[in-house]
């Protein structure tokens, strides 16, 4: 009896320790390569850390604590950088992520619905082809579209030339300066953060990249909607449009909202794509928070300012995360209801 009890308490003790053992490797590694750097980053964000301090780090004799000067400099645009305004970049960053999702999700749903039509010919071919943008690495997509938008030799201007020749009879070559033109084509579209042509070029390229993923998610959700719902609706005399709004859309919501949130966070920090296409230009009009952070580290080499900027990005991302988390939770409840 006593022996049984002791072995019982032994397993109990083991079970209490076991989860921590399973977590140990992850936390050991993250301690060194994640948490330590995070704390270090917060500390040097209050210093004048620059290139000459790279050798000795925190032990540098002339490294000074300068309080929250780096943060103030960022917020008041006091950095000696041309065309930098934190709040404009922040606004553009939010608008960039939002405008992408607003276009990608409905397009993805509509195209998935189109391909889900009973009796449509060549469905499999379309499905196979439409997924291609998802499978090409975004890095390659960005470099290819950079070439497509080249002013003199790019495919986009050549396509526009061909179209204008075919339909308007005007064969003059079109040279749109996609990445250089600083004048916003639609003035006042986004107050406070003018959208240059480069933004529209990136929107076109990212639309090509973004909707197929939404379409894949929507297809999966569409196929789980029971067909009898539609049959019952059409017996009751519902039109195709009514069926779409009253059956398809509400039943797609639980799948599409997490996908939209995923798309939003992905676009929000889409470093490779933006950096490879415009590098944040022209005149920093397409700069995201991450691309500017990269510029601070790589080109300007103000590590203290960059650290402060990283802390700010972290805070912004935290707010975004809390909001999106609330949205997805809301969907979970919806699904359970």
């Amino acid at each position: 009896m006593a022996a049984a009890q002791s072995s019982f308490s032994k397993t109990k003790r083991q079970n209490a320790v076991l989860p921590y053992l399973y977590l140990l490797p992850a936390f050991l590694i993250m301690g060194v390569i994640t948490f330590y750097p995070l704390i270090y980053q917060v500390i040097i964000s209050f210093t004048n850390f620059e290139t000459q301090h790279l050798l000795l780090g925190m032990r540098s004799p002339d490294l000074r604590f300068i309080g929250i000067k780096n943060y103030i400099d960022i917020f008041t645009a006091a950095l000696p950088v041309e065309n930098f305004n934190f709040f404009r970049v922040l606004e553009f960053n939010f608008w960039w992520a939002l405008s992408n999702v607003i276009l990608h999700v409905p397009a993805g749903v509509m195209i998935a619905t189109l391909l889900n039509t009973d009796g449509l010919w060549l469905k499999r071919i379309y499905r196979a082809a439409y997924v291609l943008p998802v499978v090409v690495p975004p890095l390659v997509v960005a470099t290819v579209w950079t070439n497509i938008f080249d002013e003199r030799y790019g495919a986009m201007n050549q396509l526009l030339t061909t179209l204008s020749g075919t339909f308007l009879g005007n064969f003059d070559p079109i040279y749109i300066r996609w990445f250089e033109d600083v004048k916003p084509p639609i003035p006042g579209f986004l107050p406070g953060a003018p959208l240059t042509l480069a933004y529209y070029a990136m929107m076109i390229a990212n639309f090509w990249l973004g909707w197929p993923f939404m379409s894949v998610v929507a297809t999966g959700a569409l196929q789980s909607i029971p067909k009898d719902l539609y049959e019952a609706a059409s017996i009751d005399g519902a039109t195709g449009g009514q069926q779409f709004w009253n059956i398809t859309v509400p039943l797609l919501r639980p799948a599409m909202i997490p996908a939209a949130v995923y798309g939003f966070t992905l676009s929000f920090n889409l470093f490779n794509f933006v950096f490879f296409m415009t590098g944040g230009g022209p005149a920093r009009s397409t700069e995201l928070l991450v691309t500017f952070a990269y510029n601070l580290v790589r080109n300007l080499r103000w590590y203290g300012v960059a650290a402060a900027f990283a802390v700010i990005i972290f805070a912004v991302a935290l707010v975004v995360f809390l909001i999106t988390n609330r949205i997805t939770r809301a969907t979970q409840n919806y699904m359970e209801a």
């Binding site: 076991l18 977590l23 994640t34 499999r124 690495p137 579209w145 950079t146």
Partner: protein
């Protein structure tokens, strides 16, 4: 098209996925069919436009820039591919080295993150313990920090590990030992090596791997584990014999997502690596476009783009179902 035996015919399945109903293709009036076909074809054209453009360009032997739009290859020339494989950049690095670097880096980071993440994901999914919520937030919080945000401290950290050849002929491994005179000839710098960059990249790969695996483990029913426990298996045996085999598909997907994520990693490699022999395909592609690309013929760039994209695309298409399923379970379960 209407009988059920036809659905086994792969050609019919290929032509039209839904052959289950009695309606077949007849429920759709011809005018609607044509309208929808027109829309579908227009979308197809927009999807294929950049792909055909870059493929056509890569098969061209012309080194001059294209003066007009060509979307269908007029010639199939492998000159550009040959040149890229022979001498990818102006730097003294061969294509084989670039490929090896990209491959080793992505493979290493993918596997390292997976191996460490799986036990953590299991702990979060199956155990109730003190501080569970806090620890989980600690693991997921780095997801909010882009890789560039941690680059400076990681640079400094990895830069401390150096192997030096001292004047008196001994080898010093910093930070454990240093040369007597404090100097020495640099033999190896962890920061300036693929291994070091791999360590830094694991930092960003790990939280995602934990998140993705935990979402999947949550969906595995516990009955099997309970049955194993009744049969006398302890927690470790259950983990290795029951959970790991069941989670295999998701392990593969998580590994692959880590692999492609780092196949195109650019930030940390570009910041940390200085020697051409360590360069990766993604870095080379960047060198061939934009401001650095003035001297690079476009057909070579196109060939390089196809080469970088192809392996990822092939594996992605093969694993497509699992990847989409995995991503959505992960995101719904949070």
């Amino acid at each position: 098209m209407t009988t059920s035996s036809d659905t086994k015919n792969p050609i019919i399945r290929f032509m039209n996925m839904n052959t289950s109903g009695q309606t077949g293709g007849r429920s759709l009036p011809l005018w609607r069919q044509l309208l929808l076909q027109l829309t579908a074809l227009a979308i197809l054209a927009s999807v294929m436009f950049p792909i055909m453009y870059i493929v056509t360009l890569s098969f061209s032997s012309k080194t001059t820039r294209p003066s007009q739009l060509e979307l269908i290859p007029k010639e199939i020339s492998f000159v550009a591919y040959g040149q890229v494989l022979d001498r990818p950049t102006g730097n003294p690095v061969t294509f084989a080295e670039l490929l090896r670097n990209s491959f080793v880096l992505s493979l290493g980071v993918g596997l390292a993150a997976l191996g460490v993440a799986v036990t953590a994901a299991y702990a979060f999914s199956r155990f109730k313990f003190k501080m569970r919520e806090v620890l989980m937030i600690l693991v997921f919080i780095p997801l909010l920090m882009p890789a560039v945000g941690l680059s400076t401290p990681l640079y400094l950290l990895l830069n401390q590990v150096q192997v030096k050849q001292c004047a008196e002929g001994t080898i010093a491994v910093q930070p454990i030992t240093t040369c007597a005179d404090g100097k020495g000839r640099l033999q190896f710098n962890l920061r300036d090596s693929l291994f070091g960059v791999g360590i830094a990249m694991t930092a960003s790969a790990l939280p995602f791997a934990v998140w993705n695996l935990k979402g999947y483990l949550d969906t595995i029913p516990r009955e099997l584990e309970e049955a194993a426990a009744i049969d006398g298996a302890d927690a470790n045996q259950t983990f290795w014999r029951i959970v790991i085999p069941l989670a295999m598909p998701q392990l593969a997907v998580t590994f692959f997502l880590g692999f492609i994520g780092h196949w195109q990693e650019f930030v940390l490699t570009w910041l940390f690596l200085s020697q051409p022999k360590d360069y990766t395909l993604a870095m080379t592609l960047y060198n061939m476009t934009g401001q650095y690309a003035n001297s690079v013929p476009w057909n070579r760039f196109a060939a390089m783009a196809v080469i970088v994209a192809l392996p990822v695309a092939v594996v992605y298409i093969a694993l497509q179902k699992q990847i989409v399923g995995g991503l959505t379970t992960g995101s719904v379960k949070g």
